[in-house]
């Protein structure tokens, strides 16, 4: 007879930290292949279309990178916040705050042309940071649960935005609930001719390295980790715990706000209802998949972008519904959470010594 049991580990080997995300992805694909079979398609063709179409041509590759950009920002936002155990579920709302601030600044006729791009970035950072500070202030001042407040603020800002789009920002010509376009001078420069590869993509990669440096190489990151891991010990060691949580919220909100800036200044040039199909929430999954490592956020976001852009091609070619992409995202989160168990525990296989 053979039995399995779970034992706690004393050490986490290094190779596990690297391979676990990959194993989680592999498990996800195996689990989701059942759905492809149910949809009556060939698993290999479907996955081939899903993954390869997003990478096959230069155009598709650029589109995938563009898609990954807001996901990198929101993933970073969540990764920073979660390191401090500030449960920011509100990257979605902070993204919208940043987008609206950018759309507002970018449409100002009174501003000189050169100031528009930097102005949009600064405004987006400030708006995202301020929106994220609300749950942080409520948490530090009144001990209100940050999961609940940061989540519910998403709806408040979304419907606030819709009111704006149906009112003052409504397009007077078409009557659509779209904000006025930003000025041509406010659009992010294109990095690669005849594609949509805009400045925001580069900013996202820079932000990832910058966030890594912040977390690993500065006293701020040191304080964020100390407070996140043990706020009591951090307080006794002389850290201002509430101050650190507020600073974390500001950094996190600023990153999410940049996601909104990039979408407005680089892609849509306006704010509309469908600006974010849940990038803020997907950022949570990406941050978990990256194990809260800012550098890991880039490949994790790229992986998700591949799935999202590839889903269309897969659907067209094989008839598997595009919603498989959503299922894969959800399954990947669960698989990663299970995989994280194995950093702390291991499975032992035992043979019973006697009957």
């Amino acid at each position: 007879m053979i039995g399995l049991r779970i034992e706690s580990r004393e050490h986490t080997p290094l190779w596990l930290n690297v391979t676990l995300p990959l194993l989680a992805v592999a498990a996800t694909l195996i689990l989701c292949s059942g759905l492809i079979l149910l949809a009556g398609a060939n698993v290999f063709t479907a996955y081939e279309k899903l993954f390869l179409s997003a990478l096959s041509t230069r155009f598709n590759l650029v589109e995938t990178a563009v898609k990954a950009t807001p996901l990198i920002f929101t993933g970073l936002a969540v990764a920073v916040a979660f390191k401090a155990r500030f449960w920011n579920i509100g990257a979605e709302g902070q993204l919208l705050a940043g987008a609206m601030a950018a759309a507002f600044v970018g449409a100002r006729e009174s501003l000189p042309a050169w100031s528009l791009c930097p102005g949009m970035i600064v405004a987006g950072i400030a708006a995202g940071a301020l929106w994220a500070m609300i749950p942080a202030v409520l948490k530090t001042r009144f001990k209100v649960d940050d999961v609940v407040t940061s989540l519910l603020l998403n709806f408040i800002i979304f419907y606030g935005m819709m009111a704006l789009l149906d009112g003052p920002w409504k397009d007077p010509l078409s009557g659509y609930p779209d904000s006025p376009d930003i000025r041509m001078d406010a659009e992010f420069p294109i990095l690669l001719h005849a594609t949509r590869l805009h400045l925001g993509v580069l900013l996202a990669v820079i932000a990832s390295v910058g966030t890594w440096l912040l977390m690993r190489r500065t006293t701020v990151g040191f304080a964020i980790q100390a407070v996140g891991e043990n706020p009591v010990a951090a307080r006794y060691a002389g850290f201002n715990v509430n101050g650190v949580i507020l600073a974390t919220a500001a950094v996190s909100g600023a990153l999410a706000g940049l996601a909104g800036v990039g979408e407005v200044a680089g892609l849509h040039f306006q704010v509309m209802a469908g600006l974010s199909p849940g990038y803020g929430y997907t950022g949570i999954v990406i941050a978990m998949l990256a194990r809260l490592n800012p550098l890991g956020v880039v490949p994790a976001a790229f992986f998700f972008a591949v799935i999202i852009t590839g889903a269309e091609a897969m659907s067209r070619a094989t008839g598997v519904p595009v919603f498989l992409a959503d299922v894969i995202q959800g399954t990947a989160l669960i698989a990663m959470l299970v995989a994280l168990l194995f950093t702390r525990y291991r499975i032992r296989i035992r043979r019973f010594s006697h009957a």
């Binding site: 034992e7 190489r217 100390a226 010990a233 006794y236």
Partner: protein
């Protein structure tokens, strides 16, 4: 009854964790009616061995027999079914449930909760062993000693015939410990077997019949506990070398370094300080005695700067500190060895190096313009690790993987790195083995020699009498008296701890 098999027989138990052999061919037998003391330094393998017996780990090799029958223990449920009960150092109770309800947890017997049967079992246990508790009281309202009693009753209700106690007296008052020992002796008389894990040699001497000593994962000795066995001998078997108590040489007392002047605190329902006045001078060790919960924690928090008093003054080296904060007290030269090493002292999930520089990360040597200097941090940590002989696989190892003694050394390595004016130490040797405790004491005495002050808060009177120049006794938030060590006796301190002021 020569033919009766022993209650418990563990043979050749071996357990490896990676490259570390925690248990290496350990034999242990326990007969009915015996209390076996399991002694060993931290990391000697006691806890691993007991976890194997209680089903938390699988042994890599070896066998366990209970009542002569081979036992396959794969979970704590298996262990309980075979009559093995364990009382851990940390209790597992549901605070919002009553005592009786806590005893129901894990009871089998379908959907019906049989309160009556458990109640009857409680009565039996009370009459037999003198373990008394109000079945309707909430577990959350129990004192530490009562919680432990509930854990013991829980094990007995589940039919334990072999009872394992892991450092059971660490958090008990002397009176509570006395009660526990009576109950354990009664259990042994009733044919049960008890395994008693402890660092406190005088307790092991007092209640066990036999002592098994582990060293580096092996059985170093198994001796009968009779008049031929001395405490000293046990200590030497445990450490594998001779141990000498640290020597205290006379030191000239200097200026007042830390002074509390009628400090009071109000802190919700917790015991506040009431007009506490206490001075620590240069070259002096002041001990604070008292039953836990009489204001010692608040005293420590005031000195650490995390609890700002609402009356009185705190002075360091002659200047008033107001308002106090953890940062200002550190900057004024107050070092701190907290009672709760893992909770308020170290951040166990961070690397050891991060913990060693934790309160000083903003100093120029570790960071510049907000940027860390990883090389300098690592080098500093390495030096401290080497200097204090901390057993760790490197400065980058996760702090939580260190043993209790090494955690305490890490705290000392950190706090002593900045030559504190006054070192505040709460329960500095709780849970430490003989050599680690000796190391800690030597450090305190060295500080005293250098002209620093040390404030030691401890429930271990032996420790206080060994170290202190003066002993302050706390009761209900007040300092009952401060006795120069030459005028202090255990009896006098004990009375003051109970709140009895001597009628002169």
């Amino acid at each position: 009854m020569p033919d009766q098999p022993p209650l418990l027989e563990m043979r050749g138990i071996t357990k490896r964790f990676g490259s570390v052999t925690a248990n290496d061919g350990i034999d242990l037998t326990l007969a009915a009616g015996e209390i076996v003391g399991l002694l060993g330094e931290n990391g000697a393998g006691k806890t691993t061995l007991m976890n194997i017996l209680f089903g938390a780990y699988d042994a890599d090799a070896g066998s366990i027999r209970i009542d002569g029958r081979s036992a396959d223990i794969r979970s704590s449920a298996d262990a309980l079914a075979l009559g093995v009960g364990m009382v851990h150092q940390h209790y597992h109770l549901v605070p919002s449930h009553t005592v009786l309800e806590n005893l129901m947890v894990g009871q089998t017997g379908g959907w019906r909760l049989d309160h009556g049967r458990i109640f009857k079992r409680m009565e039996e246990i009370r009459s037999r062993y003198g373990l008394d508790l109000d079945p309707r009281g909430l577990a959350g309202d129990l004192t530490v000693g009562q919680q432990q009693r509930l854990e013991i009753i829980k094990a007995l209700v589940r039919g334990a015939r072999i009872l394992i106690l892991d450092e059971p007296t660490a958090a008990l008052t002397p009176q509570e410990a006395e009660g526990l020992f009576k109950a354990l002796s009664a259990m042994a008389k009733n044919g049960m077997g008890v395994i008693f894990i402890s660092h406190k040699l005088h307790e092991v001497r007092a209640i066990t019949t036999r002592v098994v000593i582990l060293r580096q994962g092996k059985v170093a000795a198994a001796v009968n506990n009779d008049e031929n066995t001395s405490k000293r001998q046990l200590a030497e078997l445990m450490c594998g070398r001779t141990v000498r108590p640290p020597q205290k040489s006379p030191v000239e007392r200097g200026d007042a370094l830390l002074a509390l002047e009628s400090v009071s605190t109000a802190n919700g329902t917790r015991q506040g300080l009431k007009e506490v006045s206490l001075t620590v001078h240069a070259g002096e060790i002041v001990g604070v005695a008292g039953v836990s919960g009489n204001g010692q924690r608040e005293l420590a928090d005031v000195v650490a700067g995390v609890l700002d008093p609402n009356g009185g003054r705190v002075m360091v080296a002659g200047s008033v500190v107001a308002p106090t904060s953890a940062r200002t007290m550190q900057d004024m030269g107050i070092g701190r060895i907290p009672e709760d090493r893992m909770g308020t002292g170290l951040i166990t999930s961070l690397p050891l190096a991060a913990n060693i520089v934790l309160p000083r990360i903003r100093e120029r040597r570790f960071s510049r313009f907000g940027f860390l200097k990883p090389g300098a941090i690592r080098q500093f940590a390495k030096n401290r690790i080497a200097q204090f002989g901390i057993k760790a696989a490197g400065s980058g190892v996760r702090t939580g993987t260190l043993s209790g003694g090494n955690l305490q050394k890490a705290l000392l390595a950190r706090e002593l790195a900045w030559d504190p004016r006054v070192l505040l130490a709460a329960q500095p040797t709780r849970g430490l083995d003989v050599s680690a405790a000796g190391f800690v004491h030597e450090q305190f005495l060295a500080l005293r020699q250098q002209g620093s002050g040390v404030l030691v808060i401890s429930e271990d009177l032996e420790e206080l009498f060994l170290l202190s120049d003066r002993i302050a006794v706390m009761f209900e938030g007040r300092i009952m008296d401060i006795l120069p060590i030459d005028n202090a006796s255990v009896e006098r301190v004990g009375l003051l701890m109970a709140g009895v002021q001597e009628a002169a």
